[in-house]
Symmetry: C2
Subunit: 213 residues, 2 copies
Amino acid sequence: MITETKTSLNEQTRERLLAVARVVFSENGFKQSTVREICRRAEVNIAAVNYYFSSKEALFAATLNFEPLLTLCKKINQGSVCAQERLLNFIHDFLMQLLDKNEFSMQCQFMARELAEPTPVLGKIVQEAIAPVHQFVANLVCEIVGNKISEAELRRCVFSILGQCVYYRHAQPVIQRLHPQLRYDHREIESIAIHIGEFSLAGLKKIAKNQCP
Amino acid sequence: MITETKTSLNEQTRERLLAVARVVFSENGFKQSTVREICRRAEVNIAAVNYYFSSKEALFAATLNFEPLLTLCKKINQGSVCAQERLLNFIHDFLMQLLDKNEFSMQCQFMARELAEPTPVLGKIVQEAIAPVHQFVANLVCEIVGNKISEAELRRCVFSILGQCVYYRHAQPVIQRLHPQLRYDHREIESIAIHIGEFSLAGLKKIAKNQCP
DNA sequence: GAATGTATCAAACGCTTGTTTTAAAGTCAA
DNA sequence: TTGACTTTAAAACAAGCGTTTGATACATTC
């Protein structure tokens, strides 16, 4: 006889479904993921998805969690270091969330996926996660270059920084074929963060100098 | 009575199928594109795909054409300008192929798509298009920084440059929502190319200085 | 203990996908 | 004109998808 109460069992099924869905969605994206695979890996009947979440799309929406990404930005703003240092910290933590296999960071990878494969919830993701991050980086860039650049140039600087970071996640299948020996362990991520940081700070300074010679 | 000969009619069907397939695949990617939509837009019977190409995948492979991308690299190497100038030219032309709505440039966009959505022909694409481009950029970087950086650092420099470029294509759905007024006309692409060029050259110089102080 | 509401399950539904079949139409040389 | 061949066409096929159904087992309440 099973001793657990009814509610704990229910939540167990629901939570297991959510946990597996997060993994599957982040692995294969929304469209490519199938309800059947999620249920199989969660050892749950197919009908459970519609029973607990009413649809695949609602399950996908329920797996979204932008807190790690937003708290990352907040935490970095709390420190009293200079803007350059804060940018370096952001790049490092952002890359960690993007590339580390940590299950808590997985949420952040939706952002990278969503860029290439828009789903019905793209609007929500842009509004609640991507836009704040872009604004956060834009503010940092403004501080670093001293508010002297145009809006268009500011936008391009933000794209340059985020583009470098996201490429590692986005182009992973290709990178793996180009450099099969490459692994994203902590040391490698650290090196990438330092590279992008130095590269970007130098770029920003050049842009600032160009606009105000 | 139709006056055209048999062979010209055949080729017309085949070619029309190929032309439409190129557009549809570049619009929606491989998986999302359907044989039915391609045939409908080409005003051709569904069975034509398997009759002329034997499968959807073979049709997709037949639409691949990396010549524009490879001739771009060759053409830039032919000039006798310095490496920095050649890098700026590459960034400009690469962005044009990535962002311009020119139908000849559409082929190049497969590369960006393939990064995020690997298909059965990814291996061929990497081998014949992506790897040569990476190598081309790596050679330019080597010339610019004077061969003084490690293999890992060289790889990261290439990623930084290509990552910035590809982001504009890759994140287009998101960018469109963040900046609805933004259009990729020739003037805008020109500005982006100048930005990425300056940004990257400054970054490369900093990396070179770091490694050899 | 009967009634009620919840959770699970196998099965099927309706739909779309890529692919195949089968027959008809057209082409062209002998 | 006949016969061989290529091209087109509508229909059907098998497989996969998200979703729904209806029955069953269970826990809780009266």
